[in-house]
């Protein structure tokens, strides 16, 4: 069995500009949404208290809200979490309450008003400074990862490909975050981990295509740059699609069976894998082509001085 079986290379690069326009629109929409609407930062980043309480019977949310409002927590967000018996309560940071003991207090209040007993499933309190640091660390991790990739790909391949790879990775990360912003999904620590994993996945994909581009340049002597890139993408297309497919399959399993805590992670990666697959086919190679990659850049042995110059010019 085989999904694709092409006799001739498909002309992917014909859609180069269409892809670039599409990506630009998605990027602009993401950045606009992130800056206007903002990101629905989860507790890990904003600080505050989250309490997950397990009720013996399906929970009466209005009653829980009422109880909490009476006790002075009218700004608490109460919602179901996973099942109808699990309730998630979020209380934002407030100056007038001691957050560190809040979880125990709320549990006591809930227990007073429920004869059947409410069990504590999870209490998380995060101080404001921790969240701020986390945002910085997360941003830093992404930045360092991108720079590391930039250096490695420049060293192993060529600087134009390296720029293409990094642009396509940043593209994936920004658009995935943009989607979270547009849909108003909660961005917590597991989503951050997912985006970082996405960078790992997407670079993997991109390198496979690059590797083939390099090989095709050496093998096909009488073809244009565009044709060579088309050939490389076509011959790796099967692999690209199958790997994405198996990854998406397990992510769907994870989304439905991994539990509520993993939802954000699975959502981010499901979307990220799709966008990452698209970007490693279109964005990375298109950028490299526009930057003017040529056969000479890929032929062994590369003139060492010239490559050194290029690296310096970039950095």
């Amino acid at each position: 069995m085989q999904i694709f079986n092409f006799k001739q290379p498909l002309n992917f690069m014909r859609l180069k500009w269409a892809a670039i326009i599409l990506s630009s629109i998605m990027l602009i929409a993401s950045v606009a949404s992130i800056s206007i609407k903002g990101i629905n930062w989860g507790l890990d980043f904003t600080g505050g208290t989250v309490i997950e309480a397990g009720f013996a019977q399906p929970a009466d949310l209005p009653a829980v809200r009422q109880t909490l409002a009476v006790a002075g927590y009218s700004d608490a967000v109460v919602q179901l979490f996973g099942t109808s018996r699990d309730v998630l309560i979020r209380i934002p940071l407030r100056e007038d309450i001691e957050q560190a003991t809040l979880g125990d207090e709320v549990m006591a209040i809930l227990n007073q008003n429920n004869a059947n007993g409410v069990t504590m499933r999870r209490i998380e309190f995060v101080g404001p400074s921790v969240g701020e640091e986390l945002k910085q660390d997360g941003g830093l991790a992404m930045l360092v990862a991108l720079i590391g990739i930039l250096l490695y790909v420049t060293m192993r391949f060529e600087w134009r490909l390296s720029v293409g790879a990094v642009i396509s990775l940043a593209h994936d990360a920004i658009i995935t975050m943009g989607l979270f912003s547009i849909l108003g999904l909660e961005f917590d620590l597991t989503v951050l981990a997912a985006i970082l994993a996405l960078i790992g996945y997407s670079i993997n994909d991109t390198i496979v295509v690059f590797d083939r581009i390099r090989e095709s340049f050496r093998k096909l002597r009488d073809t244009s740059v565009t044709e060579t890139i088309n050939d490389a993408i076509t011959s790796t297309l099967n692999r690209t699609v199958i790997t994405s497919l198996t990854t998406v399959l397990v992510l769907i399993v994870l989304f439905y069976m991994g539990g509520a805590l993993i939802h954000g992670f699975a959502t981010a990666l499901l979307f990220g894998v799709a966008i990452g697959t698209y970007s490693s086919i279109y964005v990375a190679s298109s950028v490299a082509e526009i930057l003017g990659i040529s056969r000479e850049d890929m032929l062994p042995p590369p003139p060492i001085e010239k490559e050194g110059e290029n690296t310096e010019a970039l950095l």
């Binding site: 400074s129 921790v130 991790a141 990739i149 490695y152 993997n204 790997t243 994870l254």
Partner: protein, 617 residues
């Protein structure tokens, strides 16, 4: 002929897989409810105590699976949780206050696996329940304390050298001590006198005439902060031990953070109370000569400070601290000859000498014990952290009857309960700098169990889906890839169990699921190559050979970059991100191994080195 493997390569792969399998095995065994009994303050449980415990369990009709003494601790395993709880009460009753009994889950790993050091993966708190605290140490307070000490030391030093000064004042906000002299010569003399005792002091000109600012070097500043953090970690560790938790974690994180993890703890309020009590004790001399009435009006004599006792009585104490709580090594509450509550205190050698020296000339004077507590207030600083309020009160003052040494008593305490409370706090040690909880995560045990179950089912079904897909798509070669996938999972679990620092968390489990999905990538790359080679008209053996060869370069390149990402995540990330990075990195390495080395062997075994017309791919 192509595609034949030497025997040693088979042996190598089989050996690696067997090793991983053996080390992965302990994860399959269930856990026994157990009791962990240890002696407080680093003591050791004797064999006699162990035998006694075993006897008392027998008497109460609790059948213990085993009661063993290991590394100075007793581990008793039981069949049921009821037995375990009942046994805890018996043990606590039998052994008394010098022992700590902690509930534990001990892996029921067979002896032969234990003997080779195989143990199950460590589970994160999100998988087994418990509390996680992140605490911040208030470095500013530690430095302020140091500045105040400097102020006092300078006074004494200059007096001793007979250098007359006009004023010595610590500026806490700016972080230096300002010394004002009468003339330029005095400035030089004072600086020389101070420099003689401490070469690392840094002087800078002061705002006023004949004044200079004195601060300590950056290096020393760092040392003080390091020391404060280390001291706090030690103390928190002691306090955690008092709570009685099996396998607690107290770790430093960054420059001023401490992570505390207490698996299995549910009563967070109590844990917080014990951990968060940032108290310290100081002993100071009472200044009885000074005019208390004037001091109350604001004219506090230099060298003294105004304090209040519990009942609101003002007391003037000397600024000089005779002794601080850090030297206390033991404290216990009891009753004196008149049945009044008292606290007996033991000091370390340095503290003993210090107190002995300072009480030598103070017999007949009154010595006050000051209890200092730091509590977070309602107000927040610019960073949004609650500002700590220093609460200090004189808990008692007594006349020094004789020169005090390493053992002494504090009397005049109101109730036995208070004496006990004070003793506990003193015993746990005094924190050099106050700490506050800036993050708390409590996971209930039922949620932990649920998380494990959800994670395991997700891994299983994810695996099954991929296995089915691969067989449909690649036929017999799909089976080969599937064997590699299963081997990959065994390897991940085995390696995770072998690495001492690796902890499995919920995101880590997600990482494993993701690896399962991504691990097929290497196989897909190879198989697609083989198909291409076949389509190009190469012979079967050539196709296998070139397929593996060509794919190998791509696999290494693409995986090294992913590994790079995983390592960066591990280096920068904390908590769940780190847990995820560990599984991702391990997964990448094992999947390269199984795909490149493992499947090659199988492919060669079935189709290599002989005449084959076509490949089932």
């Amino acid at each position: 002929m192509l595609n034949k493997n030497p025997l040693w390569r088979y042996l190598l792969v089989i050996g690696v897989l067997l090793l991983a399998l053996v080390y992965a095995l302990p994860n399959l065994y269930p856990e026994d409810p157990a009791l962990n009994i240890s002696a407080t303050r680093g003591g050791v449980v004797s064999e006699q105590a162990r035998a006694e415990l075993e006897r008392s369990f027998d008497q109460a009709n609790i059948s213990a699976k085993s009661v063993v003494l290991e590394e100075g601790q007793v581990l008793a395993r039981f069949n049921t949780t009821e037995d375990q709880l009942q046994a805890r009460e018996i043990a606590a009753e039998k052994l008394g206050a010098n022992y700590v009994t902690a509930l534990n889950l001990a892996p029921a790993t067979p002896a032969w696996l234990n003997a080779i050091g195989a143990s199950p993966m460590k589970l994160g708190l999100d998988l087994r329940g418990g509390v996680h605290f992140l605490m911040a140490v208030d470095m500013k307070a530690a430095l302020n304390k140091n500045l105040n000490d400097m102020e006092e030391t300078f006074r004494a030093d200059l007096r001793e050298d007979r250098v007359r000064y006009r004023n010595i004042q610590a500026d806490l906000a700016k972080g230096y001590v300002t010394i004002t002299m009468r003339s330029a010569e005095d400035v030089a003399a004072a600086q020389a006198a101070l420099k003689k005792r401490d070469r690392e002091l840094v002087f800078s000109p002061g705002a006023e005439e004949f004044s200079f600012n004195t601060s300590i070097s950056e290096l020393r500043l760092k040392e003080i902060q390091e020391y404060a953090l280390e001291q706090n970690i030690t103390i928190i560790r002691n306090r955690v031990n008092e709570i009685g938790v099996a396998e607690p974690i107290v770790q430093r994180q960054g420059a001023d953070r401490i992570v505390v993890q207490l698996p299995g703890v549910q009563d967070t309020a109590k844990a917080k109370e014990i951990l968060g009590a940032t108290a310290t004790l100081e002993f100071r001399l009472v200044d009885t000569d000074a005019d208390l009435a004037a001091a109350l009006e604001g004219r506090i004599p230099p060298g003294t400070e105004l304090f209040y006792s519990r009942d609101g009585r003002p007391v003037l104490l000397e600024k000089k601290i005779m002794l601080t709580g850090e030297h206390i090594t033991g404290a216990s509450s009891s009753f004196d000859e008149y049945s009044r509550p008292q606290v007996s205190i033991k000091l370390d050698a340095k503290g003993g000498n210090k107190l002995s020296e300072s009480t030598r000339t103070a017999i007949g004077r009154r010595m006050a014990s000051v209890f200092i507590e730091y509590k977070p207030s309602e107000e927040l600083d610019e960073k949004g952290n609650p500002i700590l309020v220093k609460n200090q009160e004189v808990i008692n003052d007594a006349t020094i009857q004789a020169r005090l040494g390493r053992d002494f008593r504090i009397t005049g305490i109101d109730s036995p309960g208070e004496a006990q409370n004070l003793a506990t706090l003193l015993r746990a040690g005094a924190l050099l700098a106050p700490i506050q909880i800036i993050e708390e995560r409590t996971i209930g045990p039922s949620l932990g169990k649920e998380n494990i179950q959800l994670g395991t089912t997700a891994i299983m079904w994810g695996m099954v889906t991929v296995l089915i897909f691969m067989v449909i798509y690649y036929k017999a070669f799909g089976l080969v890839a599937n064997l590699a996938l299963v081997a990959n999972l065994v390897l991940i679990v085995g390696v995770m169990s072998m690495i001492p620092g690796a902890t499995l968390t919920l995101p880590g489990m997600a990482g494993i699921v993701l690896t399962v999905g991504m691990a097929v990538d290497a196989n897909v790359l190879i198989f697609e190559r083989i198909r291409e080679e076949l389509a190009d008209g190469r012979s079967v053996q050539q196709a296998i050979h070139h397929g593996y060869d060509r794919a190998f370069a791509t696999i290494t390149d693409s995986n090294i970059t992913t590994l790079l990402v995983a390592l960066i995540l591990f280096g920068i990330g904390t908590g769940p991100v780190k847990g995820f990075a560990v599984t991702l990195a391990i997964g990448i390495l094992t999947s390269i191994f199984t795909a490149v080395v493992g499947t090659r062997l199988l492919v060669n075994l079935f189709w290599g080195g002989r005449r084959v017309q076509s490949l089932p791919i």
